[in-house]
Amino acid sequence: MKVSKVAQSTARRIFRLCSKDGQVNEEHLRIAVTKLAEEKPRDYRGMLQALRRLLQAELVKKQVTVESAVDLNKATSSKVKKSLCSQYGDDLNFDFKVSPELLGGMRIRVGNDLFDGSVKARLERLQESL
């Protein structure tokens, strides 16, 4: 569904009004969405669609995927959590995965940022340089 520019800018405005210090206030956003669905202003579907996209982008920013070749022990995982929280804020959602193809090390993705310290990536870099 194509969202009009007006709907997009209105959705952005609603989203901004429901956020404080870069954090989305869930309660406020819920009220805004309910009001939109009830009052059905012109192009309200587009607005809801744009709001969904903005919220999704916001959630992706806070999503952390930690991949490792073997299962991480508690001490290591808490160390990873602590160092990432100090860099990106406390409200991160962690997802730990085991990927044997990494051979060793870790691959951490926070939103759009990727920290690849896996043995596989290092071998690839070595292959490229040779």
């Binding site: 952005r12 996209r53 903005l54 982008a57 992706v60 993705r109 939103g111 759009n112 940022d113 990727l114 920290f115 690849d116 310290g117 290092r122 870099r125 070595l126 340089s129 040779l130």
Partner: protein
């Protein structure tokens, strides 16, 4: 054997083992040589984007949460869900004096089958032009070798000249003859027959022409002995619109390198109306402004 060992050790020492932060994105849709990428929050305009399979893309349209990336090559293997990463580098091409006498594509890769070219430097395709204060006023003439032009509408070094005319009236011929004339003058100056002559190097940018026409131009220059001081940047009609749109910028990067070495350069864009068509095509597919 020991030298190979040392070389290998040096190569391994050069490989960075530290963890680097990279900005990544996921391909949301692809088609018409353009990928819409979600993520890439740190991407800059005209930044090179790395796709799987060694394909490079160019970030041309930055939107909120989405980036329009045009492929600089064949992007048929790129599918939805693939990961790509920002390189942090603006589009740049290899340049150098070794490119004289060669035919290259928009990305500076040789296409004449004469092997690799060792580049002296990497130059960005998009560079701010020197300001008006920095430029010298035109004082040295550029002899085209065509008596009518040199007598009635002389051209100076540091000047732009538009060659305008109906189709098949000899616009390309004027440009090619001028390039050949520069080569002859350079030779005469080297032999001491022409005094106080600073050699002029030539860049010929062929945009949207048939490959057969480009091959004919190359052979004309070769036969006249003018290819040795000429670089040909070819973006033929069979190349992608992006390559045709970027070809003049690449040609300019080659010329700017020679200019920075204190050399005089003649650059011919043949022709810019096809580049305008290519730009329109690119901007319509990336939904960026088509310009005026």
């Amino acid at each position: 054997m020991s030298s190979i060992l040392q070389e290998l050790e040096a190569q391994i020492a050069n490989v960075s083992t530290s963890v680097e932060k990279t900005n990544i994105g996921i391909v949301r849709e692809t088609g018409d040589g353009v990928a819409k990428v979600e993520g890439l929050s740190d991407a800059q305009l005209n930044e090179m984007i790395e796709f799987p399979g060694g394909l490079t893309g160019l970030a041309l349209n930055l939107e909120e949460g989405e980036v329009g990336v045009v492929f600089l090559g064949d992007g048929k293997h790129i599918t939805e869900g693939m990961e790509c990463k920002a390189t942090g580098k603006l589009l740049s091409i290899p340049v150098g004096e070794n490119f004289l006498g060669r035919v290259v594509n928009t990305l500076g890769e040789p296409i004449d089958g004469k092997g690799d070219v060792s580049a002296a430097d990497q130059y960005p395709v998009e560079k701010i032009a020197p300001g008006i204060i920095k430029r010298k006023s035109v004082s040295v003439p550029l002899q085209t070798g065509i008596a009518a032009i040199d007598a009635m509408i002389p051209i100076g070094r540091g000047q732009r000249e538009l060659i305008i005319g109906d189709r098949s009236t000899g616009k390309t011929t004027i440009a090619i003859d001028t390039i050949i004339s520069q080569a002859n003058q350079n030779k005469a100056a080297a032999e001491g027959r022409l005094k106080d002559h600073k050699p002029v190097y030539c860049i010929y940018v062929a945009i949207g022409q048939k490959q057969s026409n480009i091959a004919r131009t190359v052979s004309i220059l070769e036969d006249a002995g003018a290819l040795d001081n000429t670089t040909i940047v070819a973006a033929s009609a069979s190349d992608s619109a992006t390559n045709q749109f970027l070809a003049p910028y690449s040609g300019c990067a080659f010329a700017e390198y020679l200019m920075d070495q204190g050399k005089d350069v003649l650059i011919v864009f043949d022709d810019l109306s096809k580049q305008a068509v290519a730009y329109r095509q690119v901007s319509l597919t990336t939904s960026s402004p088509t310009g005026t």
